[in-house]
Symmetry: C2
Subunit: 305 residues, 2 copies
Amino acid sequence: MAPKYLTGDSQAINDFLDRFDVFLFDCDGVLWSGDIVFDGTVETLEMLRNKGKQVVFVTNNSTKSRLDYKKKLDKLGIPATREEVFSSSFSAAVYISRILNLPPNKRKVFVLGETGIEQELQAENIPFIGATDPAYRRDVSAEDYNKIAAGDPSLLDPEVGAVLVGLDFHINYLKISLAYHYIRRGALFLATNIDSTLPNAGTLFPGAGTISAPLIRMLGGTEPISLGKPSPEMMVAVEGKFKFNRQRACMVGDRLDTDIRFGIEGGLGGTLGVLTGVSSKDDFEAATLPPMAYVDKLGDLLGGA
Amino acid sequence: MAPKYLTGDSQAINDFLDRFDVFLFDCDGVLWSGDIVFDGTVETLEMLRNKGKQVVFVTNNSTKSRLDYKKKLDKLGIPATREEVFSSSFSAAVYISRILNLPPNKRKVFVLGETGIEQELQAENIPFIGATDPAYRRDVSAEDYNKIAAGDPSLLDPEVGAVLVGLDFHINYLKISLAYHYIRRGALFLATNIDSTLPNAGTLFPGAGTISAPLIRMLGGTEPISLGKPSPEMMVAVEGKFKFNRQRACMVGDRLDTDIRFGIEGGLGGTLGVLTGVSSKDDFEAATLPPMAYVDKLGDLLGGA
């Protein structure tokens, strides 16, 4: 079904808003771009809150914790609480602690990633190694090869039951080698998200998907379980926290392949596209899985008031 | 056609050897394993040379130059000259200098790799940046993101016309970012080889294919031109150097998917499998593209004398 274009149609906007109690927002490309907040973003969020709607900020950025992200929202002048932020690092921590049930002697997680993941794992009391530990920021020595081959516990902790891969700005040969050997020895292969690129400074840089790519290659094509958008596991985690009726929830995003897909495959009652990011009007109109409705920009929702 | 089993059949061995003037050898798994040279390796090579055969050692290991590799052969007690060694780093250098014809203002190569590639590029007078230059062994700064986005020539050399990816034990986020932006700006995407793993210490570590994997991911699936086995480009380079008749040449190897495939798809007159490496008797007998013949071990060829 073709998506409904809402901009300028106050009756249609009101009808649309009335269908939902919860709005999940993608951030970059929807609320802001880079460091520039779009006109009407703050007022639209205020309008939704005034109508009693729950707002949730859903981000695949695993390098930041929810608190880091709340600080970013503060800095941009967008009022938010930590509780309203749902990041892929938090999603991964919730998945590991509440769904996976690792055996008692396999509870540790070997992490490729940054402090955002560490903070969320700590908040869920999940023991981990790797991540930002400087001991892993070094070359592989001849001795390491033999120790890894022998499964020496000084390099391969026998209590590791899962490898969690997020965006790691300090990826290196040693970490890839260790992650591979943990997985070969039976550890689960998890990823906070698998985005191939990360938008920054108006262009693209390597995303979390580039950190799992070498491992997928070594494993002959085996993909990680991804806990970020558009994975249904992330929707399970979001729902587990906010306890909403999926039929009364709407995902708002700029990308067909992550945001809109996440809302549709996650079984939400609605999806809303915006044209301030990656996907265009033509993309939305021609899509096999289009959003339920779309607006030129988020602030156009104020036209329904 | 089922491969002929030669071990113990002196007439069949003689007939087989008589068909070829040139023998191309894979090394690890054929001549030796790790640091152990198989019984009969040295004598078999001597026998072939005494019969006037040309022997060539063909390796995908790009971290070593031909001279480094000759030194490795010396250390293992296998007589060889630098001229008999054909590595994927040399193959890549030959391909760039003699086949690619980069425009005069795009002659530089940005390298992800080690000293083996540097030495072979230098020998072919190809200007390059990256590789083991310590200036690239650092974190990405906030300033770098802006400079890369702006195409600042202090980080993105406008004369770079090709990116060459080999095994890089010092891979990092900065190098992946730069390689990606060079390719986006039009540089060719080349790889010395795309092996997913590297055997070491009796187990597997990340191979050159894991260094190109993040880039392939960022580029939406675009693969590099590979200059190693089993790529036909490597056969073109080998033939360009040794000027042999492909019908009178035989590839000897332990792996169906690289060595035997390389010989068959490269149009050689014959292929010989050995059982001292990865592939088994059953693999050879059941293969869609089997070797022409096989022996238990290379030294069994002495049984034809």
